[in-house]
């Protein structure tokens, strides 16, 4: 009786699993394989194409535009990750202390997370083009009175601010839930031993919320390396291609630039990079957690 039930059960499970896995294979795995296939051709996105072997890959490594976009994307992701995590931690500590209107304040700080990155990029574009230089002129600051977006040297920073404005929301929330896992009596015991202020944070709080730090680091790096929406709306990759992120370059070069095969090779490299970094980060940060 039980065997019959079990075999019935596993048959149902199989019937559920197979079609969904097939769909997943077709639109995810096969797409990746196809992308790899295209990367070995000189396909323009239309018409015929020839097999070119690894030439796209060889060309990639000497293409200044590609190399610059990798340097830019990594620099951007690292700076943004550090900035976002510092701000989020400070905010989370503040929002977790005994304050008035705690619920309302938390809801306010989370708000940017639910808004679309594209529209926020447009709004910040206006802010950096007109409002900030206006403030700069008003306070006679030479550095501020030029738009950050106008110079290749500063445009990346405008992008950092825009992306961070949204990303801080989620990271703060994750740190807050981390802080909730720290029991109050740990602090009380620490206070008796003289652990207050920054010492308390460094020796008690931070080690205890290490797992949440890991989540935030991995989330940040992955999201920032794939930055796209805000690049489209804030800078359009400019000025002088200084803010072309990898995703943006794959999109613009591959779909409208007629370099489908070439950018597919770029996408394959990008995929390998993302996987490597994610695994490395998880390993490294996990080993840190165990030590503590």
């Amino acid at each position: 009786m039980k065997d019959k039930l079990n075999s019935n059960r596993s048959r149902t499970f199989l019937a559920i699993t197979i079609p969904i896995v097939i769909l997943f294979f077709v639109f995810n795995t096969m797409a990746v394989i196809q992308g790899f296939g295209y990367s070995l051709t000189n396909f323009k996105g239309f018409g015929g194409y020839d097999f070119v072997g690894l030439r796209n890959y060889i060309d990639l490594f000497s293409d200044e535009r590609i190399i610059n976009s990798y340097i830019f994307t990594f620099g951007f992701a690292i700076i943004c990750t550090i900035l976002v995590n510092i701000i989020s931690l400070v905010l989370a500590l503040g929002l977790s202390s005994k304050i008035r209107a705690q619920g309302a304040l938390r809801a306010i700080y989370f708000l940017p997370n639910i808004l679309g990155g594209l529209v926020i990029g447009y709004v910040f574009n206006f802010f950096f083009t007109y409002i900030l230089p206006g403030i700069g002129e008003a306070i006679n600051s030479g550095a501020l009175s030029n738009s950050l977006l106008a110079s290749p040297k500063t445009a990346w920073f405008a992008l950092v601010i825009t992306v961070a404005w949204q990303a801080v929301a989620l990271n703060t929330l994750i740190y807050i839930s981390g802080l909730q896992t720290v029991p109050e009596d740990v602090y009380e015991a620490g206070a008796i031993d003289g652990a207050v202020g920054f010492k308390k944070f460094k020796n008690i709080t931070f080690p205890l919320i290490m797992p949440f730090f890991t989540i935030n680091m991995v989330l940040c790096m992955k999201n920032f390396l794939m930055v796209f929406d805000q690049v489209v709306s804030l800078t359009g990759g400019g000025p002088a291609r200084s803010t072309e992120s990898i995703s943006f370059l794959i999109y613009s070069g591959g779909l409208s630039g007629g370099a489908f095969g070439y950018q597919s090779a770029n996408a394959v490299i990008f995929f390998v990079v993302i996987v490597t970094i994610s695994i490395f980060q998880l390993r490294f940060l996990n080993s840190k957690e165990e030590q503590l």
Binding site: R9, I16, V21, N28, I114, L115
Partner: protein, 284 residues
């Protein structure tokens, strides 16, 4: 050693300072929204070159910009597309992802299923950029470069994350409940619907919130699949609008505000559920 009353006093003291600084900091959240509202309600003649003029309250609150922006972006049609796509993806995610989460989660003692699980989960590392171009070709070939295709693809892209969430949650639901139902003669499907599906309710909320936030604000997939079909989502409408009317800032900001409002309303109503859902999803 500090006395308890002293501790309480210091806590109360810091309390006001922190509240004050957090309130000051929250201005950075409100300012871009304030700016958007102020510009959206003005007409270009009121936009004097000084920032004080841009940020001041409009002389009269006029809805002309909104009417015009709605006409240009075909707002109601675009909004209904966004609702349709997000809603359909949410429903598919809750029904089918929980179903496969159940099937795989309850078969983890088998090696094949464990491998299958890892195989699907690894899909989380696939950046959209790598499958973007093949997806464009595939969907065009199959004739699903339309709203249906977008929903189908979202359902597939969110499968890894949702599968992980559902199977993780399933571990807390004891097997004995299903066994009892099975002995009473209920089929596996019926057991799922009547016993497991309702028990998964907290996870449904998380999955619904995360899937909805992701699809509502997504740009890339509708951009590559729907451009030229006349079926826009709200973000894509802004993108098209920008390339044509981007220099008329008053009109543009009215359009941005229209695009932000639906989510703002939903957030004001359901912020508790949304925050809870996002936290649950991120920490699992």
């Amino acid at each position: 050693m500090l006395k308890k009353s002293q501790l309480a006093r210091t806590a109360k003291k810091t309390n006001r300072t922190i509240t004050f600084w957090l309130l000051v900091g929250s201005l950075s959240v409100f300012f871009p929204l304030y700016m958007t509202i102020m510009i959206a309600f003005k007409d270009p003649s009121q936009m004097s070159n000084s920032i004080a003029g841009i940020l001041a309250f409009p002389k009269s609150w006029s809805f002309d910009n909104f009417q015009q922006a709605m006409a240009i972006t075909d707002f109601w049609h675009t909004l209904s597309n966004s609702i349709l796509i997000t809603g359909a993806t949410m429903i598919v995610a809750v029904i089918f992802h929980s179903l496969i989460g159940y099937a795989i989660g309850r078969s983890m003692q088998k090696r094949g299923y464990r491998l299958l699980y890892l195989y699907i989960i690894s899909g989380m590392f696939v950046p959209f950029a790598i499958i973007m171009m093949p997806i464009v070709k595939q969907t065009a070939m199959l004739g699903i470069d339309n709203r249906f295709g977008v929903v189908l693809l979202y359902s597939i892209f969110y499968l890894p994350m949702n599968l992980m969430l559902y199977t993780g949650y399933l571990k807390n639901i004891p097997l004995s409940l299903e066994e009892a139902a099975a002995i009473d003669g209920a089929s596996t499907f019926k057991t799922f619907w009547s016993v497991i599906f309702p028990l998964m309710k907290p996870m449904h909320a998380t999955v619904a919130v995360l899937t909805a936030l992701g699809t509502w604000n997504d740009v890339m997939l509708p951009l590559v699949l729907l451009s030229g079909t006349g079926q826009n989502t709200l973000p894509i409408a802004q993108l098209n609008f920008q390339s044509q009317f981007g220099t008329n800032y008053n009109l543009a900001f009215a359009s941005y505000l229209l695009a932000l409002i639906p989510m703002l309303i939903i957030y004001i109503i359901g912020q508790k559920q949304i925050i809870k859902g996002v936290v649950n999803g991120a920490i699992k």
